[in-house]
C-alpha cells in the first residue's frame, strides 16, 4: 500500500466532515467513526506493508518529497494509530458529535502525525509539524470554558511558535549550507558543511524539538497544556503528540547529526537527565492529579531522551519500547483520572477518597498503569527501563542511569499518593455517577496492551521487531542507500 495513503486518509476525513455537516448532519457521527477506522487501518496496512520509499509526483528524491517506511516508521505508525483510535473513541463518548470541528482538528493532527512519521524531507517535516502544532494548540484550548484552558493554549502557542521558529532556522541553515532538503541526501552532504554552520543547524533543530517534545528547557507549556485540556485530549497529548516529536528527534539525531555525534548525544543525555529529575521532583509536589500526570510525562520524556542519548541500537530500542509503554499507561492514567475527577468534580488528590468502592475496576486499572509507569518489576515500564539501563551502562552514562533508577523510586512515591487516596475513606459519597462504557473498554484494552508489552521481550516477533528498530535506525547508511537507490 502506498505510504501516502496513511496521510491522505485522515486528510480526507478532515476535509469531508464539514461537507457531512452541511449536507447530512445526522451522518457526522457515523462518518467520524468510519473515517477513524479507515485512518487507523490504512496506517496499520502501511506499517504492515514493510519497507517502502515513494516520492511525491513521481520525481527523484532530490527534487520531490520522499516518504520513507522503515522499521522505526512502522513502530511509530502503529503507536500513533493505537493512540489516536483510543483517544477518538474516548472523545466520541465525552463530547458527542456536536462539536464536529473538533474532529476535523483531530483528523488533521492525525494526518500531520502520520506525515511527520513518514516524511523523508526536512521541510516537509516542518510543514507537518506546523499543522500538528496548530491543531494541538487549538484542541488544548477546547472547549473555551475557562481562562485556565485558554491560557494553557496560549502558552503552548507561544512556546510552540518559538520551537517552530528554531526548527525553521535550523532547516534554513541546512538548506543554505547544502542546497538540499531530502534527509537522506542531507545525511550525506551535511557533514561537509562548515563546522560553525553545522553546530547551528544541530542546535536549532535539537532545541526546536526539545520544545515540541517537552524536554527541559522547553517543557514549560507541557504541564499546563496537559492538565487543562479535556481528558481525551490530554491522553492524546501525552500518549502520541509528545512521542511524535521524539520520533523526529530519533530520526534526525541518527541521520543528520553524524559528524557531531558525541556532542549531540552528550547534550541529549544531559538535558534528558535534567528533564527526568525535574519532572519527577515537580510531580512529587503536585496536588492536582492531572498536573501530577503531566509532570510525570515530562519525566518520561526525559527517560526517552536519555535512551536516545545512549546513541546505540539498544538505546533506540529502549526509547521506542518505552514510548509504547508510556503511551499505553499514560493514556490509561489520563482517561481513568478524567473519569474519577468527574465523579468528584475536583482534580484535587486529597478529595479522591473512597473512589475504590465507587469505581473499583477503574481504580484497579489506575493502579496497574501507575505501577507500569513507575516501573514495578514484572510490568512493561520496568522492562523498558531495564533495556534503557543496559543501554546506558554500555554507553557508560552512569549518572543518567542512576537518575533513572532514582526516578523509579520517586515515581513510585508520588503515584502511591493518589492510590492510597482512592483506597482511603470517603468523606462524602461521590455526587456523580455516569457510566463510561466506551472509556471503560478503552481502559481495559490499554491495560491489556500494557500486559502484552510486558511480555514483549519474551514474544519472539515482538522482540525481534524491537531489536530491528534499533538496528535499522542506528544504521544511517542503510536508510540513505534505500532512499537514493
Amino acid at each position: 500500500m502506498n505510504p501516502v495513503l496513511a496521510i491522505v486518509a485522515p486528510f480526507l476525513a478532515a476535509f469531508t466532515i464539514p461537507l457531512f455537516f452541511v449536507f447530512r448532519k445526522k451522518w457526522v457521527g457515523t462518518a467520524v467513526i468510519l473515517f477513524g477506522v479507515l485512518s487507523a487501518l490504512t496506517a496499520l496496512f502501511v506499517a504492515a506493508g514493510g519497507e517502502a520509499v515513494t516520492v511525491m509526483g513521481g520525481w527523484q528524491p532530490e527534487v520531490g518529497i520522499a516518504l520513507v517506511v522503515d522499521s522505526l516508521t512502522t513502530a511509530f505508525l502503529i503507536l500513533a494509530s493505537l493512540g489516536f483510535s483510543a483517544s477518538l473513541s474516548a472523545a466520541a463518548e465525552t463530547f458527542g458529535y456536536g462539536p464536529w470541528r473538533f474532529y476535523v482538528l483531530f483528523f488533521l493532527s492525525w494526518a500531520a502525525t502520520n506525515g511527520i512519521i513518514l516524511t523523508g524531507d526536512l521541510f516537509n517535516l516542518f510543514v507537518f509539524f506546523e499543522i500538528f502544532s496548530v491543531a494541538a494548540y487549538l484542541v488544548v484550548a477546547y472547549p473555551p470554558r475557562s481562562w485556565q484552558a485558554i491560557e494553557a493554549g496560549f502558552k503552548y502557542l507561544i512556546f510552540g511558535t518559538v520551537g517552530a521558529l528554531f526548527l525553521l532556522i535550523g532547516i534554513a541553515y541546512a538548506f543554505m549550507a547544502t542546497g538540499q532538503l531530502n534527509m537522506a541526501i542531507l545525511a550525506r552532504v551535511l557533514p561537509r558543511a562548515p563546522e560553525a554552520t553545522l553546530s547551528v543547524v544541530i542546535g536549532c533543530l535539537v532545541v526546536g524539538l526539545f520544545i515540541k517534545s517537552g524536554t527541559v528547557p522547553g517543557h514549560f507549556w507541557l504541564p499546563d497544556a496537559h492538565s487543562s485540556a479535556q481528558t481525551p485530549v490530554s491522553a492524546l497529548l501525552s500518549g502520541v503528540f509528545v512521542k511524535v516529536s521524539l520520533y523526529a528527534l530519533i530520526r534526525l539525531a541518527f541521520l543528520l547529526f553524524g559528524s557531531a555525534d558525541d556532542r549531540v548525544f552528550f547534550v541529549l543525555l544531559l538535558f534528558g537527565t535534567v528533564t527526568l529529575c525535574l519532572g519527577h521532583l515537580m510531580a512529587f509536589q503536585q496536588e492536582d492529579i492531572k498536573r501530577l500526570l503531566a509532570y510525570s510525562t515530562v519525566a518520561q520524556v526525559g527517560t526517552i531522551v536519555i535512551a536516545i542519548g545512549c546513541a546505540s541500537s539498544g538505546g533506540v530500542t529502549a526509547a521506542v519500547y518505552h514510548a509504547f509503554n508510556h503511551m499505553a499507561a499514560k493514556m490509561g492514567l489520563f482517561l481513568v483520572s478524567g473519569v474519577l475527577a468527574e465523579d468528584r468534580a475536583s482534580r484535587d488528590i486529597a478529595q479522591m477518597g473512597g473512589l475504590f468502592r465507587h469505581r473499583p475496576l477503574f481504580v484497579l486499572a489506575f493502579c496497574l498503569f501507575a505501577a507500569s509507569i513507575a516501573g514495578i518489576p514484572p510490568l512493561n515500564g520496568f522492562m523498558s527501563k531495564w533495556f534503557l539501563l543496559v543501554a546506558a551502562a554500555e554507553r557508560g552514562a552512569l549518572i543518567p542511569a542512576a537518575a533513572v533508577v532514582a526516578g523509579t523510586v520517586l515515581s513510585a512515591a508520588y503515584y502511591l499518593r493518589p492510590i492510597t487516596a482512592f483506597f482511603g475513606p470517603a468523606e462524602t459519597e461521590p455526587p456523580h455517577h455516569r457510566p463510561h462504557p466506551v472509556t471503560g473498554a478503552i481502559v481495559a484494552l490499554l491495560a491489556l496492551l500494557c500486559l502484552v508489552l510486558a511480555l514483549a521481550p519474551y514474544i519472539g516477533p515482538l522482540k525481534e521487531g524491537l531489536l530491528a528498530v534499533g538496528r535499522d535506525t542506528v544504521n544511517g547508511a542503510r536508510y540513505i542507500e534505500r532512499v537514493l537507490r
Binding site: K155, I158, F159, V162, F166, E195, A196, L198, S199, V200, I202, G203, V206, V207, F210, I211, V216, P217, G218, F220, P223, D224, A260, R263, V264, F266, V267, L270, F271, L278, L281, M282, F284, Q285, I376, P377, P378, F382, W386, L389, V390, A392, A393, E394, L398, A401, A402, V405, A406, T408, V409, A412, A413, L416, T420
Partner: protein, 454 residues
Amino acid sequence: MTDPISTTLTALAAVMTVPAALYGWNAARSRLYRLLPWLFLLFAWQAITAPNWLVFVVFLELSSLTLFFFVLSKDRETAFLYLYSQLAGGACLLLGTALAARGGALPAVGAVPPGLFPLFVIGLGFKAALPGLHFWLPPTHSKAPAEASALLSGYAVKMGVFGLMRLVEAPSPALMAAGVVMAALGALQAPLQRDAKRLLAYSTLSQLGFIVASVATGTEEGRKAALLLIVAHALAKGLLFLTAGSLEEAYDTRDLGRLGPAARDYPLLFGLFLVASLSLAGLPFTVGGLAKGAVKAALADHALTQAVLSAAGMGTTMALAKMASFGFLSSGQRKGTGRPRPLPPLAWLSMALFAAALVMASFAALKTAGAEVATKNVLVDSLLLIGAVILFVRLPRIFRPDRTTPDVADLLAPAGRMLTIPLSRLRRLHSGHLTFYLALFFGATLVVLYLLRP
C-alpha cells in the same frame, strides 16, 4: 541455582509463612490480605532460586512490595518509609546489575566485578539493614502487624543477607566491621527500648550483625554458620514477634511500661516466649546456642570480633530479660486497659507451630553438630547468659522502660525539611511568567549551542 543455602532458605520460607498466614487469618481487614503471605512466599522462593541478579532484584522488590501493603494496613508513614528504603536498595541493585550486564549476559547471582561490589553492598545493605542503612528497620518492625513483623524480621531481611552470602566470596574486612558495629549497636539499643516490638527489632539488628560478620569471613564455614543462625533466628524471632503481637492484641499496648503481668493471664504465652527467647539468647543445646557457637568458631581468627560479639550476645539476653520481666512478670503497673481480650485459637496454633519448628530445628542441629561440638562451649555460654541476667537484675535503673533512645531514624525529619528547600525553589521556578520562561529557554538554548560548538 540449588545448593544447601537456597534449599534451606526455600524450606525456611515455607516454615515462616504458614504460621504467619495463620496468625493473621482472622484479622479485621480486607480479605485480600489473606493472600499476601502466600504472595510473599512465592516471590521469596523466586528470589532465592533466582538464576541471575536481575531476577533476584525483581522478586526481592516484589516481596518488599507485599510486605509494604501489610505495613500499610496499620501505619501509613512507616509503610512509606519502608517502601522508599527498600526501593532505594532495589534501585542500587538494579543499577549495579545493569552495569554488570554491560558485557552482554545477565550476571549470575554471585560475585560481581570488584568496582561494583560497593554498589551491591549498599543495595543489599538497605535490605539487610547494615548500620546507617538500618533507619527503616526499628519503626517498620515495631509498627507493622505482628505477622508482618515476623516475616520481615524472620525472612525479608535475610534475603538481603542471602544476597551478601552470594556476593562475598573473599574475606571482606569492611563488611565484617559493619557486622560488628551492627551487632554492638543492636545490643546496646535493644535493652533500652520501651516498645516491646522495637526492642525485638533492635535485637534483630544485633543478630543480623552476627550473621553478617560470619558471612564476611568469606569462607564456607562462615556461610554455613550464618545459615544456621539465620534459621535459628528466623524461627525464634518469628515466635517472639507473634507473642509480642499477642500481648498487643490482648492489652492494646506495646509499651513495656504499661504492660501487666501477662504470665498470670496467659501462662502458655509466657512459656512460648521463654522457648523462643532462650534459643535466641543462645542457651546451650538449643539451635540458637549451636548457631552462635558455629559463628564464633567460624570467626576463630578474628579475636576482637569474637569478643564484641560475645558482649553483644549479653545485650540480647538483657533485652529479652527486660521483655520477660516487664512484659510478663511485673505487676501493678497496668493502667486502665481493662480485662485482657482472649486470643483467637489460630494465633495459638501459629505460635505452637513456630515453637514446634524451633524444637525440631534444635534436635536436628544437635544431631548434625554432634555432642562434641554442642558441649564445647557450654560453660562459657552459660556463664555469659547468667552474667547478663545478673547484670539486668542488679542495674534496674538503666533498664526501666521510661525513655526512648535516639537513632539514625531521628535524622530523617530534619533531612526531609532540608530537602523541601530545593523543592520549593523548583516550584517557584514554575511560576507561570511567560517572559521568564522564555528567558530561561533562550538561556538554555545558548547552553546547547555552546555545548555543540565545533
